[in-house]
Symmetry: D2
Subunit: 308 residues, 4 copies
Amino acid sequence: MRIAFLGLGRMGLPMASNLLAAGHDVVVYNRTRSRAEPLESEGARVAGSPAEAAEDVELLVTMLADDAAVEHTVLGASGALATLPEGSIHLSMSTISTALSRRLGREHAAAGQAYVAAPVFGRPEAAASAELWVLAAGAPEAIDRARPVMEALGQGVIELGEEPETANLVKVAGNFLLSSMLEGLAEAFALVRKNGVDPELFLEIVNGRLFRSPIYEGYGGLIARGSYEPAGFALKLGLKDTRLVLAAADESEVPMPAASVVRDRYLTGMARGLGELDWSGLGRIAAEDAGLDGQAEDRRGHAAPLRE
Amino acid sequence: MRIAFLGLGRMGLPMASNLLAAGHDVVVYNRTRSRAEPLESEGARVAGSPAEAAEDVELLVTMLADDAAVEHTVLGASGALATLPEGSIHLSMSTISTALSRRLGREHAAAGQAYVAAPVFGRPEAAASAELWVLAAGAPEAIDRARPVMEALGQGVIELGEEPETANLVKVAGNFLLSSMLEGLAEAFALVRKNGVDPELFLEIVNGRLFRSPIYEGYGGLIARGSYEPAGFALKLGLKDTRLVLAAADESEVPMPAASVVRDRYLTGMARGLGELDWSGLGRIAAEDAGLDGQAEDRRGHAAPLRE
Amino acid sequence: MRIAFLGLGRMGLPMASNLLAAGHDVVVYNRTRSRAEPLESEGARVAGSPAEAAEDVELLVTMLADDAAVEHTVLGASGALATLPEGSIHLSMSTISTALSRRLGREHAAAGQAYVAAPVFGRPEAAASAELWVLAAGAPEAIDRARPVMEALGQGVIELGEEPETANLVKVAGNFLLSSMLEGLAEAFALVRKNGVDPELFLEIVNGRLFRSPIYEGYGGLIARGSYEPAGFALKLGLKDTRLVLAAADESEVPMPAASVVRDRYLTGMARGLGELDWSGLGRIAAEDAGLDGQAEDRRGHAAPLRE
Amino acid sequence: MRIAFLGLGRMGLPMASNLLAAGHDVVVYNRTRSRAEPLESEGARVAGSPAEAAEDVELLVTMLADDAAVEHTVLGASGALATLPEGSIHLSMSTISTALSRRLGREHAAAGQAYVAAPVFGRPEAAASAELWVLAAGAPEAIDRARPVMEALGQGVIELGEEPETANLVKVAGNFLLSSMLEGLAEAFALVRKNGVDPELFLEIVNGRLFRSPIYEGYGGLIARGSYEPAGFALKLGLKDTRLVLAAADESEVPMPAASVVRDRYLTGMARGLGELDWSGLGRIAAEDAGLDGQAEDRRGHAAPLRE
């Protein structure tokens, strides 16, 4: 398949590489051109603009940072929409707002192009190992044509109907659940740490006996150890995604007070210069607001080890 | 072991029964005496007051509804503290405040008795099948003596040091994490339902692909189906436990905004007469506040089934 | 002065009328043309488009509903910016986002035009009686030229420096203080009403003895009486302005948890179909969430009258 | 009138002094006896315990720090209830919980004594100048007998019916409105300061043009100047009163999300060691959370002065 791939960030780069490995004919574009170089040796062509990349392809993949980047890259002056052939598909994998996704659907339809929203769950390592989960919404026929590409990128495609923005909604609702979990853990750890409980033991109890979730295990461990760098997914991106879920909630008139709490905590983090921490850095904010140092000490030598 | 067991509610009754089955010599007391009758046929003696029950036992177990009940039953006019022999142990398994637990520790010490806080994780079914998790804190020697009893009631004992209230703190912090999860799910489901997404499919995505937690699976299913009756654990008890975690947070000066949100939602539920719903009834409150009927429709016939 | 006036809503119509009465030469435009008719008899010319209105004027006034309307009317296809003469001034009086105000400043500068942000405090009656307060920010020279127009519309002009968006920020911060007061009153009234206190007496105490503010008196009275219709300023506009203050807070990284609470309450109101109530309808939402009917009964016959 | 006055703190001392000046026969008690000395020269007798003070008086006034102090002083081992003559009145002026007030009503009734709840609005200066506002609830006959005393302490008595706890409820609801105003101002000032607006000018606009309230003027000025010491009313007492309003809200099942926000902010203040600041120190917390220094700079030399 002839594919244009726009956006070679921490997610996009390994994804484009997987498409090359799967034998697709891929032209790539990235604002900072040097990011594209490693892919040249894998067989990619490098375009000088989104419009140039989209000429003559069957499928356009975008994996960009935010609404502004997608708007600029697809709808801007030298954007991809103008040159994408009629009948081709835009597979839009970025985490963007439902409003922009709806608008892209309209604009592509007006240009005789198909639009499939296909945001993903998974971090850069999952992108590299093609273990993403893809949420796909759009015309069934377009989803079917794009399926081989989605399958080359992940371990499964979950279909969410014909309205593209539904996939974006589910993506941001899922990320909200993660943020909400992080805030819950952040507050609980601040409370127990301030009362002298070994955070590792607390995690062993609440995840080992209650949640039994690899996600709680992973993030709980980061907060228990106060280990927020390097970021797997940055706090500033957590804020971005919280904005998106609140925008969707606003549009559909759904009050989300827990999401509001999370937003205010992320903003506090930004104001404290913590935007580059991992989003589990909510643990540090809650700790500081409780008068603890943000960093959990290693109390393992001091407190009761886990005895059952 | 000669044991007095006070409080034969939904948790206490099967627990006392398990102690009898394990061969202990058990005298029971319950405010409503008729609740004690089934245990008589299992070999229990029934006392007319807490004080009468506690005479001459080695171990006193309390499993009562709240602080007021424990205060009355242990410290009140005909309470157990007055008659519990010196050197005996009070194994306090109710979910009570850290403040009351601390006070009980002091009062028992003054009376030459030992005090072990031993709240549990698990619902009535787990109590029946002796699969509770017991959090124990107090003097190591007392914990060791009480261990056979705790082991007869659950699948493990987790020790939390010498300060009894630490066990109560960890218990309410754990329940807060559950409440916080429920509120997160409640908001996310309200959002996606209002946007036409099949709630069962949403759960399949967020738990199946992200959290992979039996707890999310279970409670998520209740919210997805709007199935809040009969209550496993009532909303009014969720409120009670949220009060306890907020009281502990207040005492130790830890702001917990997510806990505050949960509290206000539970209070809304109480004001709407929903106190007897399961605590996952937070899902109904969030749905109603979003202008949805509280009950999720069965959309399984209408929306896209899970296809991967 | 030759003036174009765009937007003849509840605020704009009396304002345009005042400019005509002050002897200015006014051309008006409104999307729904019939709204402009009353002004024709007062001497206004009616234009068929924003672009047509702006031709050849010294000053362009906009008084429109929201960002989208301003964007469309000024920057859109037949928008005013294209025809406004070089050296003329855009006096932007709508309550819009700081982001759009900043952008308008840039675009006008690029077109050789001046831009003054001049949002106002005051309701339609104050617009009619020329008693608005005008917050003005922009180039001092442009403010000076626009001053006679601003003075014809209100009782004073408050200058806020050279950055236009500062005036918009102060406007939305002021409206936030009003929303925050409304939410405070809403909660306090729900609490005292549910405990049998006469709301009028409560208001007499808290405003009569504490705040002594005509604003508390007016809005407190609406909430005390449950009198939310007709709206002086609609709840849905309260939500709009709360969005604006949260957007400004987000941009400048300032957590505003009280604003988040207000936002969630307004959204609840929208979801309940209460968007056309007065924004003091927050009182009804708080009352309903407390299990009271939204309407305060008239308790004046029943409870203790004010005796001192 | 023969009066016992218990509690000679910043409020109680000048109040007792006013009663002496009004010609009453006053016996005083304070835990720290030295606080009572200045009153001896004014004619007061000093008792060694609450019980001793209450012997043989017609009226018992309590003005103590919190529930615990009132409970201890009135109901404790050498408390006043035991010796207060039958038919005498307890005028309870402290800011205490509705629950304790209800209980005191019951206990005094059982002892054949009258109980009038009579909390006050006003700060120490108003206590000194006898300008407090007294909220009175209880049996009308008892209120009438106590009226001369209440009138000697303030500028008016507002009656709130026969249930004593109603007066306490109105008191804490009023203080909540003040806390809520402080939080609103705190957030608004943080927002405008971070955007370069002179805080004094902002206050001049929002209070001078909108609220026109001496309370907004006073507290707004403290926040604008970052002037939180010495405290008129300490932040830790703001937290105490917020606890009381939330307890009343909990009892009567009224969700109060704005009160929850205030509580979490006060707790943050406590955790940061700011409990002795004035409660308007919420302004410092909001500023710090916005990444500003807590202290407002004096910008009066730099920003636009107020020009109209």
